[in-house]
């Protein structure tokens, strides 16, 4: 049996995982990061927008401070977040950005004097103070009170990840890539590490650690339509759920984006609609004004996504080999505007679709974008249910996002949480020893080997893992997509339960040797269907609308009954998760109120 030991094991080498590992290594502890892909290819690299931190250096960010950032975050979450955590995050974000600058991120900086900026496609000027010259600049992103998003041109996530991985190499963090964690090692009380399969050789290894961190990012790929990287399939969450004792928080809180391109679901910015782009159906008819006479295409993300889905359900979508879609039309904005102000969109259309948006329509559909839910932790990042298990980043439900994360807050969360949780793990390591039980290690390894053998020998059946995945994709988008109501959710849950039974009968067509990709898929499909059920069942039970979770049959936000966080665990052999609830927050710095956007009625708390 191959065994590798360290003080800290991070499952994930994206921004959150590496930031935690660096903190441990700087404090003299050995740290290993495991990753499916080389660290720098982690999905964090795809975030182009930026990171929110209330530095207040720019003209449009003047007067910003953590208090204003906090108010934006809590409102954004629709009061679903843990306010203590949101406060911790906002207070520490400026420090984290400066630290990233210290380590080498080439943040864009303030250029003094009169500058031209754009809002809603229109230029205006603002005066940047000479005394702020050369400090970290900020841009507009995600509908906040101040311009607070720190950025490096169009490659923020990329630069920050490269910088962190440089730092990781410098301080001696061991990064092992092309390995995939498929289970945790634990005894029901303490986590002792993880079992991972090598994606070069197929070999299993037990990685033992005093502290194990789940930092595997989002699980968007339980949906077919997702902006997430293809490796974002929730492996870390599945491992946590499989323990039977670690709960996942708010899995029903899933954010969608109205305009992913078809077929690859790469995101095109909302700037297109902001600047006057329109949405057309299969008859090239502009339908949004019929649904939203006032705002049309400029209604909020959720509303536009829902109306698009509604319209396609009426059979008015454009059929394609990849399913129905709609058209985004920006032709009338003109060549000059498209080639300069919407250059990124132009490039995406040309490079990935072969469509010239100056003359042609862009095929789009709403797609899954961000997972607010994840491994539920306390404010120190310690997972509920198992000692020695932690979580950070998009994989976690720490929970500063509640039912809706603000653009720019998630990338910032990774490094801020990484800094805070990393320090707490260091404290944990200094305070205690973890006893590694060899029986738990042996059992976990044997269980995983048995799973693999069963799949290769088709011991439970011959279901095709890709067919099961496709069935899951169909079911979840129908019921637990953007558009939710009791009837469709009930069908969705029932369908997913059947699909779960099929997932348990998967068997390989091939021999499973080495880094066999069919086996890779087969090993996670049951877990992915379980995650889908956590989303759908949680959404069915939550009879209110809050943030991104919108129920047609329960349109109000219900603070009287639902100012809560859903906690989903999975009992062995069950075909549904067990749901429990806890208060959304214990501290109310800001009592529930109106968000000031999105409309919607509120059922008030009983005082």
């Amino acid at each position: 049996m191959r065994i590798i030991q360290s003080d800290v094991l991070s499952v994930g080498a994206g921004l959150a995982g590496e930031r935690v590992a660096i903190e441990a290594a700087e404090n003299g502890f050995s740290a290993i990061c495991l990753s499916i892909v080389p660290a720098r290819r982690s999905h964090s690299s795809a975030a182009q927008g930026g990171m929110q931190a209330a530095l207040g250096n720019s003209a449009m960010g003047e007067g910003d401070c953590p208090d204003v950032h906090f108010a934006d975050t809590v409102k954004g979450s629709d009061w679903g977040c843990d306010q203590e955590v949101a406060r911790l995050f906002c207070d520490n974000a400026p420090i984290a950005m400066r630290q990233m600058a210290f380590w080498g991120v080439p943040w864009n900086r303030v250029v003094p004097g009169e500058q031209t900026y754009y809002k809603g496609g229109k230029p205006f000027t603002a005066f940047e103070k000479p005394e702020n010259e050369g400090l970290i600049h900020s841009r507009n992103f995600g509908g906040t009170a101040k311009w607070r998003t720190c950025y490096t041109s169009d490659g923020t996530g990329h630069c920050v990840l490269f910088t962190l991985d440089n730092r990781a190499a410098q301080v001696g963090v061991t990064v092992i890539d092309k390995v995939e964690v498929i289970g945790l090692i634990h005894d029901g009380e303490t986590c002792m590490g993880a079992v991972a399969r090598c994606l070069k050789t197929g070999e299993l290894t037990a990685y033992l650690a005093k502290a194990t961190l789940i930092a595997t990012g989002g699980f968007g790929r339980i949906y077919r339509e997702s902006t997430n990287a293809v490796i974002c399939d929730g492996g870390g969450l599945i491992a946590a759920l499989d323990t039977g004792v670690v709960p996942l928080g708010n899995m029903e809180a899933v954010q969608f984006h109205p305009t992913g391109i078809v077929p690859t679901d790469i995101l095109v910015t909302e700037g297109c609609r902001g600047d006057g782009g329109t949405l057309l159906d299969k008859n090239e008819y502009r339908f949004m004004p019929d649904y939203e006479p006032e705002k049309a295409e400029l209604a909020s993300r959720d509303v536009v996504s829902r109306r698009m889905t509604e319209h396609m359900r009426k059979g008015l979508g454009v059929p394609s080999p990849y399913g129905d879609h709609l058209w985004l039309d920006i032709r009338h904005l003109g060549e000059h505007h498209i080639r300069t102000k919407l250059r990124e969109v132009d490039e995406i259309c040309q490079s990935f679709l072969g469509v010239d948006p100056v003359h042609q329509l862009i095929p789009v559909r709403p797609t899954q974008h961000y997972s607010m839910g994840g491994v539920r932790t306390n404010k120190d990042g310690a997972a509920y249910g198992l000692k020695g298990l932690f979580s950070a980043g998009e994989a976690s439900c720490w929970d500063m996002h509640g039912f809706n994360r603000l653009g720019g807050n998630s990338l910032a969360e990774t490094v801020v949480a990484g800094m805070i949780v990393g320090a707490k793990i260091v404290e944990f390591l200094k305070g205690a020893e973890t006893v590694i039980k060899t029986a738990s290690v042996r059992d976990a390894m044997a269980a995983q080997q048995a799973r693999i053998d069963g799949l290769v020998n088709c011991a439970s059946g011959r279901e095709n893992p890709y067919a099961v995945k496709n069935a899951m994709h169909d079911a979840i988008m129908k019921g637990a997509g953007i558009f939710r109501n009791g009837k469709d959710l009930e069908t969705c849950v029932a369908d997913l339960q059947e699909i779960l039974a099929r997932a348990r009968k998967v068997g390989l067509r091939s021999n499973g040797q080495g880094a066999n990709p069919e086996l890779t898929m087969a090993l996670k499909i049951e877990g992915m269907v379980k995650l889908a059920l956590c989303v759908a069942y949680g959404a069915l039970k939550r009879t209110e609308s809050r943030g991104a979770h919108t129920r047609e049959d329960y349109p109000e936000r219900n603070d009287r009954d639902w100012l809560t966080r859903t906690l989903a665990t999975w009992a062995e052999g069950a075909d549904l998760p067990t749901l429990n609830y806890e208060p959304a927050t214990h501290v109310f710095e800001m009592p529930p109120g109106d968000r000031g956007y999105g409309g919607g009625k509120i059922i008030a708390r009983d005082e």
Binding site: W107, I136, T152, Q170, G354
Partner: protein, 251 residues
């Protein structure tokens, strides 16, 4: 439309003792707006579930999907079938260790590179959480960003004659990385420190300047310009190193 595409794909699974290197043919009807990402996944899901290849972002951002496409290194996700002939031949990147079929191990190669060029900011300063950030000119930040855009796809290494011949050659990607740190005032390394890393035949003096690297770089990093600058700087530094101590001046 409605072409049938023929894919000739290199196959070999080193972990399977029964496997021998060979080329496999697959036929696939072309669909609208198809990229190699769509096509390869379709082959794997519908025809051969064992086919190994790597994708991650599928948006030209992460560098995972580099392979040799009809003889030229490039990003598969960034390649539209519409721009390709009816026959498409796919090979794994050379230089990097083969994992299987089209998948190679870039992680190990690049981590080795970070250690060789010490790909991080060298400074004696200590971060002060209470202090404001050090100032930087925005134009300089943008220049650094320009070189920081490299996605470590490995295309430049795979296309480089020197890298193919000598395993220890740093490659354009590493030389560009060093150029990035030379630009960055936060990195306090001296010219001598940089010279010790790249002033050798494994470094800048091994480069034959044929510039296949810049040609294939999907991010259009100005490699030619960076290699030229580095060569001049290091040639100067080597002359300085040869001079007797009393003659050394700043050039």
């Amino acid at each position: 439309m409605a072409r049938t595409l023929t894919f000739n794909i290199f196959r070999y699974n080193p972990a399977d003792s029964a496997s021998r290197p060979r080329m496999d043919r697959f036929e696939l009807p072309e669909t609208e707006r198809m990229t190699l990402f769509i096509a390869l996944n379709k082959i794997r899901e519908d025809i051969d579930p064992t086919l190994m290849f790597d994708f991650c972002c599928r948006a030209g951002i992460c560098g995972a999907c580099a392979m040799v496409i009809n003889g030229r290194p490039g990003l598969a996700c960034h390649t539209k079938t519409k721009d390709m002939p009816d026959e498409i031949t796919l090979m794994p990147l050379p230089v990097f260790k083969l994992v299987g079929d089209l998948s190679v191990d870039t992680g190990t190669w690049f981590r080795g590179m970070y250690q060789k060029v010490e790909s991080w900011v060298h400074t004696d300063k200590v971060f002060d959480p209470a202090a404001k950030e050090e100032r930087m000119d925005n134009a300089l930040a943008e220049q650094i960003y320009e070189l920081d855009r490299c996605i470590e796809c490995g295309c430049c290494v795979a296309a480089c004659g020197t890298a193919l011949m000598r395993e220890d050659f740093l490659g354009a990607v590493a030389l560009n990385r060093l150029a990035r740190f030379i630009l960055d005032p936060r990195d306090e390394r001296t010219e001598k420190d940089y010279f010790d890393i790249v002033g050798t035949d494994e470094g800048i003096f091994g480069c034959m300047g044929l510039l296949a690297c810049e040609d294939v770089c999907p991010k259009h990093i100005p490699l030619q310009e960076q290699l030229g600058k580095l060569r001049r700087k290091m040639a100067l530094a080597s002359i300085k190193n040869m001079l007797p101590q009393f003659l050394k001046k700043d050039f």
